[in-house]
Symmetry: C2
Subunit: 352 residues, 2 copies
């Protein structure tokens, strides 16, 4: 019986649908149909093919299928530097969500040296069905993205949007989140608030800042300071140290007059840097100064931090992103998802 097997098991020769059709004594078309979900084929035939396929260890060649169906089932995931733990989490959840839909994730990187545009073009030769861009840093280079989406492949920005462009994008409602952060801090009794921002050239930064500032102004306040640079831990530390240094230098003696009683870190990794710096400076949290972040990365829940923050609804955002990609209407602005306040220990309890 083994003798008629054209391919010995374990051999590195690929077994094709022709091999199976021979083994099963049916046409090659029948083999194809047996592996095509909705195809017109009798149950007996299908079983017969499946048995033969099993015997030969046959697996349909997805590459060949892609070529004829014109659907690769491949979605590109384009990531930059992963300094922010928010992205690995998002990345892995995207990969899983894609797999659950029978699609595959092609992982591509972009960095300062390689334009996203360039990366996208390389990916497009693999006939990707869509591209999801995680813009850890984006900036003025972004407009070039528009060209690619014209190329027929829908491109979606995750966690960012580009004001001028009609690109698909899914993000947290960062403006509302910024307002919420201000609200929470004001409710806690804070009156001297600071904002430590991320990359000023991103919508994420801008929207959170704007929401924050506008809510403050409604209470007749404005932020003490809004230093901004990048969405990284080191910057959170540095900004806090700078704040301290400036104040210490400015007014000797009663240097605390202008020290903030609350700080909004533009994201959690910054807020964690702030917390560490505050600790070094001997400032007690939340007694002397409250801190709130944005994202709710896993680290924020740790005992050492217990950071109060605004959670991005990652799961819902990913579902929505995938849905948007399935039906790529030129988005009327970004698709926004509300953030959720996560109460932990770094914001003073409201007085009264």
């Amino acid at each position: 019986m083994m003798i008629k097997t054209p391919v010995t098991p374990g051999s590195s020769q690929r077994v094709t649908s022709h091999d199976v059709s021979r083994e099963a004594g049916v046409s090659q078309s029948a083999v194809s149909r047996a592996f095509t979900p909705g195809a017109r084929i009798s149950p007996e035939m299908r079983q017969r093919v499946l048995d033969a396929a099993q015997r030969l260890g046959y697996k349909p060649n997805a590459i060949a299928r892609s070529l004829v169906t014109q659907r690769s089932g491949i979605v590109a995931l384009i990531v930059g530097e992963l300094h922010n733990p928010f992205y690995p989490q998002a990345l892995s959840q995207f990969a899983q969500a894609l797999e659950a839909r029978g699609k595959r994730a092609l992982l591509l990187t972009h960095d300062v040296h390689r334009d996203i545009q360039e990366t996208l073009e390389a990916a497009s030769s693999y006939q990707i069905e869509a591209a999801i861009v995680f813009p850890t840093r984006l900036g003025s280079t972004a407009p070039s993205l528009g060209d690619v989406s014209q190329g027929g492949v829908p491109v979606l920005l995750f966690n960012r949007h580009l004001p001028g462009h009609d690109l698909l994008s899914v993000a947290c409602d960062n403006y509302a989140g910024g307002r919420l952060a201000a609200q929470v801090l004001l409710d806690s009794g804070a009156r001297k608030l600071a904002f430590v921002g991320g990359d000023p050239d991103t919508s994420t930064h801008q929207d959170r800042l704007n929401g924050f500032v506008e809510r403050l102004s409604e209470s007749g306040l404005s932020p003490l300071a809004t230093p901004s640079l990048s969405f990284q831990y080191d910057w959170g530390v540095q900004a806090t140290l700078n704040l301290h240094g400036a104040l210490a230098g400015g007014s000797a003696g009663d240097g605390d007059r202008d020290w903030p009683d609350a700080i909004f870190g533009a994201n959690d990794i910054i807020a964690i840097g702030i917390l560490d710096a505050l600790h070094m400076l001997g400032r007690r949290v939340p007694e002397e100064v409250s801190v709130i972040g944005f994202d709710d990365i896993q680290e924020s829940a740790r005992l050492a931090y217990r950071l109060t923050t605004i959670r991005q609804p990652l799961e819902a955002m990913i579902e929505d992103a995938l849905a948007a990609l399935d039906d790529p209407q030129p988005g009327h602005g970004p698709r926004l998802h509300p953030g959720e306040l996560i109460w932990r220990d770094t914001v003073r309890a409201a007085k009264g």
Copy 2:
């Protein structure tokens, strides 16, 4: 001039080598050769084709090429849960290294519910050239991997090896690393050493533990305790709290007699958990207790931790993994790379 263009720019119709051959007035073979690096083609012909391709916005279809060349250029990266920041870093570096070699990374996940075997089979339909498995957790399910590598696709375990199997694997020399950790701690004057392990069912854990224990025994010592569970932050915290509780409960009054003066965390994320727990317990590091980790993840360098640790030479390991995959000899055991001691602030300085 635009009139003869068969495909209007921006149209979603794909432009093929035939379209280009028509535009350039040459054969389709010529178009193919123009895009094939070492092909026999005159410079003039190539330029003519390239110009026409440019005009039409032609990009070769990698899927079609794969089908005929039998080389997809796709390598599968299979990741589990990303609780340990070491993996995202490795993942992203792998993706970059692959791109630098003109290959693509297909990102796949596996979890408790989905066997790695199953994931690999799904990947194999994309004609992957190799698979790299990041076994955040592996265990008794591992042996099934052997079957896949028989299927013709070389499988490489990264950061783990399987004692019984002949799978390719690249890892840090964890045994030597364990010895080194013991050495450093002993040199610092420690005599009551504890080990907080990860998943006991992994080679990583076992090798580090063995190296540690054997070095201690050479000095006539044995570890105070070796609780082990998983490579996670929470476990580092919990294990430390447990240690404390057990001792506090055991001997009232002079409870410190058996409290360790040094702890080796099986990896950095555990060590960081240990550090946080120690801080909560009011134990001073390194004055009362030294802590050393393994990996050197980015977080370990933070001001808040300044963790002394043993760095895995990630870059070298990745290069070696890719080299091993290009020439997949049935590895004679795992390919080991020496760890490097990174001195920071959590181990007491050696006494004069």
